[in-house]
C-alpha cells in the first residue's frame, strides 16, 4: 500500500470574481511523501492550501483529503490533518505548556495522553526547562518548532505547512527539516509550501505554481534534468520567465 494517495486534486479552482487565484490545478500526494508546493508570492499557494484544509470553499473542481471530500466532509478532514500557518498561530499570552494542553485538548486527546506527549515533545525540543514561559517571549525559531510539534500532537495523517521557515536562521531551518524528515519517517505525509528553493531539494516531489496554475510537477532530480539545470532555483527562474 505504499503508493496509496492521501490527497487527490482534480481541476480545483478558486475564483474571486473574474480573478482565478487557483486555476484548475490537479495533482496527487502519496502517503508518507514530502510534497513541496512551490511558487512565488501570490501564486495561489495559500489559497490552495486553505481549500484543502477545509476553511475555504472551492469554486469548482474536486479534491479529496485522506479519503474525505473537501465539500462535504471538511470536519472529518480536520480531525486527520495538522496545520501550521505562515502567520505564527500559537497564543503569545499562554505558556508553552498551556498551548500544548489547549491544542491537545481541542483535538480531543485525553489528559493522560497530553501529559505523556508533551513530556516527550518538550524533551525533544529541549524546551522542558522553559515550559512555563510565555510563548510570546520565545525567539521566532523556537516558536516555529513548537508550532510544528503542536500541529503533530494529535498524530495527523497529513501535516500542511504554509511557509514554516519564513524568517528563521539557516541553523534553525536545518533543524526544522530534520523534524520534518522524522515525521515523514513515521508515516506522516508532509505538504509544505516554501519559496526557499534550496528547501525544494529536500522534498520527495515538488509542484511549481505560477499564476494560479501548476506548471511543473516531479521529483527535484527529474525537474532539473528536464530543464537542464543544476539547481531548483534555476528551474524556478526558467519557469517564471517562460510564463512572462
Amino acid at each position: 500500500m505504499k503508493n496509496e494517495n492521501v490527497i487527490e486534486v482534480e481541476n480545483l479552482t478558486k475564483a474571486f470574481g473574474a480573478f482565478k487565484a487557483v486555476n484548475a490545478i490537479s495533482f496527487e500526494v502519496k502517503k508518507g511523501e514530502i510534497f513541496g508546493f512551490l511558487g512565488a508570492n501570490g501564486a495561489g499557494k495559500t489559497t490552495a492550501i486553505k481549500m484543502l484544509i477545509g476553511i475555504s470553499h472551492p469554486s469548482s473542481g474536486k479534491a479529496k483529503v485522506v479519503d474525505y471530500d473537501v465539500y462535504t466532509q471538511p470536519e472529518a478532514i480536520k480531525r486527520n490533518i495538522g496545520y501550521m500557518s505562515q502567520r505564527f498561530a500559537l497564543y503569545d499570552d499562554l505558556t508553552v505548556q498551556e498551548n500544548i494542553n489547549f491544542f491537545g485538548g481541542i483535538y480531543g486527546l485525553s489528559r493522560k495522553v497530553i501529559r505523556e506527549k508533551s513530556k516527550n515533545l518538550l524533551v525533544e525540543l529541549g524546551m522542558h526547562e522553559i515550559s512555563s514561559k510565555l510563548v510570546g517571549s520565545l525567539p521566532l525559531g523556537w516558536k516555529q518548532k513548537l508550532s510544528f510539534s503542536v500541529a503533530l500532537l494529535h498524530e495527523p495523517k497529513i501535516v500542511f505547512l504554509d511557509e514554516p521557515t519564513g524568517g528563521v536562521d539557516p541553523i534553525t531551518r536545518r533543524q526544522f527539516w530534520e523534524m520534518i524528515y522524522k515525521a515523514a519517517d513515521q508515516g506522516t505525509t508532509i505538504f509544505v509550501t516554501t519559496h526557499y528553493m534550496d528547501e525544494a531539494e529536500y522534498c520527495d516531489r515538488v509542484s511549481i505554481m505560477v499564476e494560479g496554475k501548476i506548471e511543473a510537477l516531479d521529483t527535484p532530480k527529474n525537474l532539473k534534468q528536464q530543464f537542464k539545470v543544476t539547481s531548483m532555483n534555476e528551474v524556478f527562474l526558467k519557469l517564471a520567465r517562460n510564463i512572462e
Binding site: 496545520y83 500559537l90 489547549f102 481541542i106
Partner: protein
Amino acid sequence: MRTIGYIIQKEFKQIFRNKGMLPIIFILPILQLVILSNAATYEVKNIKFAYIDADRTSTSRSLIEKFNASSYFDVLMDLPSNKMANSAMLAGEVDVVLEIPNHFERNLIKEKSATLGISINAIDGAAAGLESVYINQIIQGYNRDIRVSLMDTSHRSIKPMNISSIPSFWYNTSLDYKTFMVPGILVLLVTMITLFLSGMNIVREKEIGTLEQINVTPIKKSQFIIGKLFPFWIIGMGLLTIGLILAKLIFNTPMLGSIPLLYLYTSIYILVILGMGLLISNFTDTQQQAMFIAWFFIVIFILMSGLFTPIESMPQWAQIFTEINPIKYFVEVMRMVLLKGSGLQDILPQLLKTLAYALVMNALAVWSYKKVN
C-alpha cells in the same frame, strides 16, 4: 464537553494574565459605580440666586430673607442694575434673578397688589421648571404671611375654597436619587464590560491569526462559541454580585424583591449581550471596527433605556424603538425587583422578551460564525 472546558480554561488564563486589562474589567466599573452614582441627580440645589432690590424697604428685605432661609437657594449677590444682572447671567454666575421694583411695598399696601420680576436661566428646561416651582412656593408663603399681618380681622373677606393635596412618595420617600440610579448604573457597567469584551474577543483572534488555527481543528462551532462566551458570562455575573454588595454596603440600596429572581433574569440577559458581541465580532475584521459598532449601539441603548430620562416621555415612535433595547428591560427589571419587590409575575413580560431576544441573537451569531469562507 471536555473540549469546551479546554477553551474556557484558556480564555480565563488569557484574561487574568493581561495585567493591563484586569483593573479595567474589575476596578474601573466599581469605582464608577461608587463615584458616579452620586452625580446622577436631577435634584436642583444650590441655585445661584441674585436680586435687584429697587424698593429697599422692610418688605422687600424680608422677602429676600425668605430666599436666604431656603435651602434651595444660594443668595449670591445684590445687583445694582438690570444690565449687571444680564451680564451676570450671560457669564453663568447666576441662574435666577429676582427683581423687586420700585414702590413694591407702597403698591402692595395702597393698590393691594404688586408685581415681582423673575428671570430664570432656562437652558436646562427641567431645572428651570423646578426652580420656578420653588420660587413660587416661597413667594406664596410670603404672600400669606403678609396678608395675615396686613388685614384686620374685621375686614376679612369670604374664605376661599382650598384643596389640600397630600403627596405620598412610595418606595423612595426621601426622593433619593441614588436609590434610583445605583441599580441603573450597575446595569450599564455589566452590559458595557460584557459587550466590549465579547465583541472584541473573537475578532482579536482573527486579527492575530489564531482563529485560522482554531478553524482547522475539528472543534464544533457551538463548542467553540460556548467556550468563548462562558468566561464573559461568569465575569458579568461576578460584576453583578460585586455591584449588588457595594450597593447594599455603600448606598444602602433597598432590596425588596427576590435576589435569585434577579440572578435568573441577569443570567439570560447576559446571553443577549454576549450574542450581540459575537455577532459584531463575526461581521468585522478588526477590533477597531468591532468597537465602533459596539460603541454605536451602546450609546443609543444607554440613552434610550429609561435609565436617565423617562421612556414614557418619548414620542410614540421612539417608545416603539425602545422595545428592541435590551438595556431597557434590564433597567426595568433591576429597579422593579430591587426597589419595589416585584415578583416573577410582574417581570414576566420582560423576562420572556429577553429570553426570546437571547435565542434570536445567539442563533444569528452561531449561524453567522463561519469556519469556512
